[in-house]
Symmetry: C2
Subunit: 273 residues, 2 copies
Amino acid sequence: MKKTVLIVFAQPEPASLTRQFVDLARDTLQGQGHEVLLSDLYAMQWKAVFDEQDFPHRADPRRLSFVAESGHAWRQGHQPPDIALEQRKLLSADAVILAFPLWWFSMPAILKGWVERVFAYGLAYGYQDAGNRYRYGEGGLQGKRALLSVMVGGPGTDYSARGINGPLEQLLFPITHGTLFFAGMEVLPTHAVYGTGHITAQAVDAAKAVWRRRVERLFDDVPIAFRPQNGGDYVDGHVLADHVAPGQRGLDAHVAQHGPAWHGEPMRRELPA
Amino acid sequence: MKKTVLIVFAQPEPASLTRQFVDLARDTLQGQGHEVLLSDLYAMQWKAVFDEQDFPHRADPRRLSFVAESGHAWRQGHQPPDIALEQRKLLSADAVILAFPLWWFSMPAILKGWVERVFAYGLAYGYQDAGNRYRYGEGGLQGKRALLSVMVGGPGTDYSARGINGPLEQLLFPITHGTLFFAGMEVLPTHAVYGTGHITAQAVDAAKAVWRRRVERLFDDVPIAFRPQNGGDYVDGHVLADHVAPGQRGLDAHVAQHGPAWHGEPMRRELPA
């Protein structure tokens, strides 16, 4: 069945691995008969800074509240055209791929600014103007899939279970859990290529073969088992019930079943079979 | 002894709690006889996007490598004036406070872009052009202190040990550990105010009293016990030695002694004595 996939990417160099992977994903998905939408943030000269210019018709012209004005602009349809266009693309998509180089263990600022401006109150948080009633598995983006494609300069060992940087999937928790799953999306295990600072042509070819298979299974792979807020694991939507993951605390406790990637073993898992 | 403190903040609303806390920190530090430098990113119209404009004299005009060009520009002194000025402020500071509202469990894009553009290769990473030889406790910013002042819209329970968002200190690990400690700084436990979406004037007053004490102890408080890369805990600078935190994995393992904040109990710790 034909699906629509939005690829948002943050890397201006056409020859970069990030861009090569975006091109490969586009070709693979189109080859499967899907429609692909692209948001090339650098080429679009995407406005990264979320500021008062994004609220041309203020609810309160005296004191700027981003949450209140975001909700007001979303409800009233008074958003700048660049934001509204990205929201239309997002809402038309069955899956979203965010492709970026890992900078300071997170997204580049231009992509973070895409999230801040596009993920409006009423859409991606405060769904139905109901505060935190719908989040983490429910919300305006429910039913969509999400996948991160991340290029990592350093070696995979630094991101292994006891590697000095910490496991990549835990570093990306604010994005996968706190942003994408928060807004209702099903988030697939992150796809990463490590050691891109010094990678051979042969390793690039092997990495592309792995990536092609990940993209082919975009609608088949099993998402990260984040616990839905309203699925019974949380008391009143805030804190894990005592019987859930008893004794566990921290980020770990919010993943019902830990795949190998969670503890920093993505390399092994992603090797060609 | 007179010190210099740089406060970088990302909140354009003068009446916001973030700004009130910046003002209070400035006044408190100046009252102690210290010099305070401010970087008001919104007022400065800080360029958030790290792009080729930041490399006016390219080492390789054909293919853009951010790492290579960042190092080239830093070494040759060919950086844009706004970057060079922020680096001078940073290098003159004995401590840095980053003050921001928590947006999608991280920094606002404008502040992320400050890090990306100011934390050059050769300064904040790749120190002495030696790759990863000096990082995590050593590097170009060694000897400086860092502190995050974070305003959190949601309730503190959501960030408690088993709260649905995850503990704040773990969510901020990419910033505290992966950015500030990476570049050599000593990072203090994060100072957060929760529930700022609906806070009473009385609670604001109480929160300010707590913040004032934190600021007064900026040069006295004990930093987070992140393990230095070259202190003997890591084999070859990459993976924890077997005898260090045996059996532990993930982010937890890189903190030698977990204060209460690590597991999501900052509220209790920060209550007035």
